[in-house]
Symmetry: C2
Subunit: 455 residues, 2 copies
Amino acid sequence: MSDAVKYVLAEDRIPKAWYNIAADLPQPPPPVLHPGTGQPIGPDDLAPLFPMALIGQEVSTEREIEIPGPVRDVYRLWRPTPLYRARGLERALDTPAKIYYKYEGVSPAGSHKPNTSVAQAFYNKEEGSTRLTTETGAGQWGSALAFAGALFGLEVDVYMVRVSFEQKPYRKAIMETYGARCVASPSEETAAGRAILAKDPTSTGSLGIAISEAVEVAAQNDDTKYSLGSVLNHVLLHQTVVGLEAIEQMEMAGEYPDILVGCAGGGSNFSGLVFPFLGRKLRDGQDVRIIAAEPAACPTLTRGRYAYDFGDTGHLTPLVKMYTLGSQFVPSGIHAGGLRYHGMSPMVSHLKELGLIEARAYRQGECFAAGIRFAHAEGIVPAPEPTHAIKAVIDEALACKEEGVARTILFNLCGHGHFDMQAYTDYLAGTLVDEELAEDTLAGGFAGLPPVAAQ
Amino acid sequence: MSDAVKYVLAEDRIPKAWYNIAADLPQPPPPVLHPGTGQPIGPDDLAPLFPMALIGQEVSTEREIEIPGPVRDVYRLWRPTPLYRARGLERALDTPAKIYYKYEGVSPAGSHKPNTSVAQAFYNKEEGSTRLTTETGAGQWGSALAFAGALFGLEVDVYMVRVSFEQKPYRKAIMETYGARCVASPSEETAAGRAILAKDPTSTGSLGIAISEAVEVAAQNDDTKYSLGSVLNHVLLHQTVVGLEAIEQMEMAGEYPDILVGCAGGGSNFSGLVFPFLGRKLRDGQDVRIIAAEPAACPTLTRGRYAYDFGDTGHLTPLVKMYTLGSQFVPSGIHAGGLRYHGMSPMVSHLKELGLIEARAYRQGECFAAGIRFAHAEGIVPAPEPTHAIKAVIDEALACKEEGVARTILFNLCGHGHFDMQAYTDYLAGTLVDEELAEDTLAGGFAGLPPVAAQ
């Protein structure tokens, strides 16, 4: 029986400003470099891809950035999102730990992604863009941008990683229902896509490839901008509504987390929950352990290298310093498509380098087992991505049991699994591929790192 | 741009009692008859199928029936659900009408169905059942009962109409993820299923057939009860939490609806929204027009006959007086699987007979068009069933425009469409079958009506 406790904020508690962690860092992250010159890039270099408002947010060091009224108007459709205490899971684990989770699956797209897609659509509309291009892995991001495009009257072209395009046809359908165009990547539509297909006509694609395609189209068309669903500072910034609300909700519960857990692919879900709490730690010393959970098949933070690298496979982006497996690394077709990026947000990478966060990698089989355990105890079927967080939470809760300590754990359940039932079908049928990532695959990825002097 | 206004109730406003419309009827509905004797049945006749608490609710005439604490504890996972004013849709239609909708898609199963599955699982657990059998059409109900079964520790066997089983494999997957067993119906597991398959090995199934299978298994096993997702009084009763919350939320908005719209298959979604408002009308004379929207391919209320009929195809149920197309009627495989029942709830049928509600039938193509219009304007992709309600709402809103009258319209968006994207894919690809129901098909169905003296 579920007796989850729910903490709900009134609508006027939707945050009025995003929280910018750049204001509180002990040292700034390394600069973004121009791949040709090796010199730090300026706003003008990014102007073909992004509206100026977002470029401003990308480099801002102001602590609070006001959320425009029309963005909050759309947030109101599903925000504030609920925060729960998972008493059913606590009982199932027989743990003294107190487990809380924020739930972003109530958004119309079913995940946390609209927190930034709505903001990006707004600023693009304001500055006259008529079309957005983007990439998507599992399809959560593409759905979210299609949703925002429909509401703000923007065309949306989504390059979807081919393996997910084939695994998740219904993700394509929802993008199209919102009026977006969805293309399997690599595609014949771009030079970047054609180059990949020339080398490997059966390429299953990757986020890095899909980014190249979307960036290429945006760079070549004046009315078209590029929209990214993770990695960049402004994207992480928009997601901080999650953590800002969670801080208030934990106060309602009379608690403060000892441990924060988020799954991490490009870093946006993780940052959204974590940054506001981490800001408190940096400003006021309020301690909290922070754990990023990633897939063993794409272990950026745990086995990647902290180096300057391209954000895409086709090398159209600037160079950013991040934990990376190399821009040519193509992860196996695991179901958590949202976690299949070769790199990690530079900001999250910087925090890891500063020792402010930990990271763990899990295999997808143990993650689905954790997800099913959660569904039975709490009644919500999680998307494959947050099952990684749930696995880490269960491990921590069992450690509490062993030690006889009642720690408070908070994680973000960043999406429901209603679009991902094929993955559960495969898991339940025992047909889930669950291979370990080989050392020579890793070495091959690292061999593709660009020779930047600063490495 | 969406600027929907959301009306949220505090958690303590989850209703403490269900509303029983039997208390306020000008005359009671005709009795349920034993098919052998033609005499009214008593509680003992139903005891093999249902726990006594639910049998008591089925025949109760008390106005309020208390919601048990553990049921409200589970409701808290997603209730109270939001009510919105659809200002984006109003603008898109350029109508003076004010359009409100209650949204039940935030439940963990994605529809209104858990409102009753949780209650049914609770009472069964209380009275010692260890297993529940049920039927499901689109899969919404099966998912909801699987969800409730997981939370209360009950086995759940779901007989799923074969056409939906094949159209919606991910519905099966979510039931299995919750630990339920899902069987395509007609199946070889039951005498009822085998009889159908002997006549037609390629039968696509129907709710009537699936009910026969589920009832048969429950009747033959002491520890097993049967659970129905619609039609029966106690099911409709449990759904009234929807309308009870909506009344409070409309008060928050300073409005009272002139028109209520719900889609109607078996009648549970429709009744959940409508009954509490209709009770006010019956008690206090507070007027409201009430419209049931049904599919033209299964037009029970608009083209059916008000007659005693079996609830199932295999004739294992008692006889109920209802609008029916005949228990042998098998509707075409339209995507709104939840609306493919040959009959209509006896209580809803009675209200239609009393002239308290209207009904309209729509073809699925125009309903999907309405659903997409709603998704673009409001950002939520509806399940196929409520697109019928949306079509009726749009028609009413356009009538307001033509007449220059600002009526207030309220409907229930009873589920999201995340499991139904194949239907949208078919619609967008122009491959949706959209045939009119032929007169001779209707006549064939009526020919199968049982010869009950009272007809």
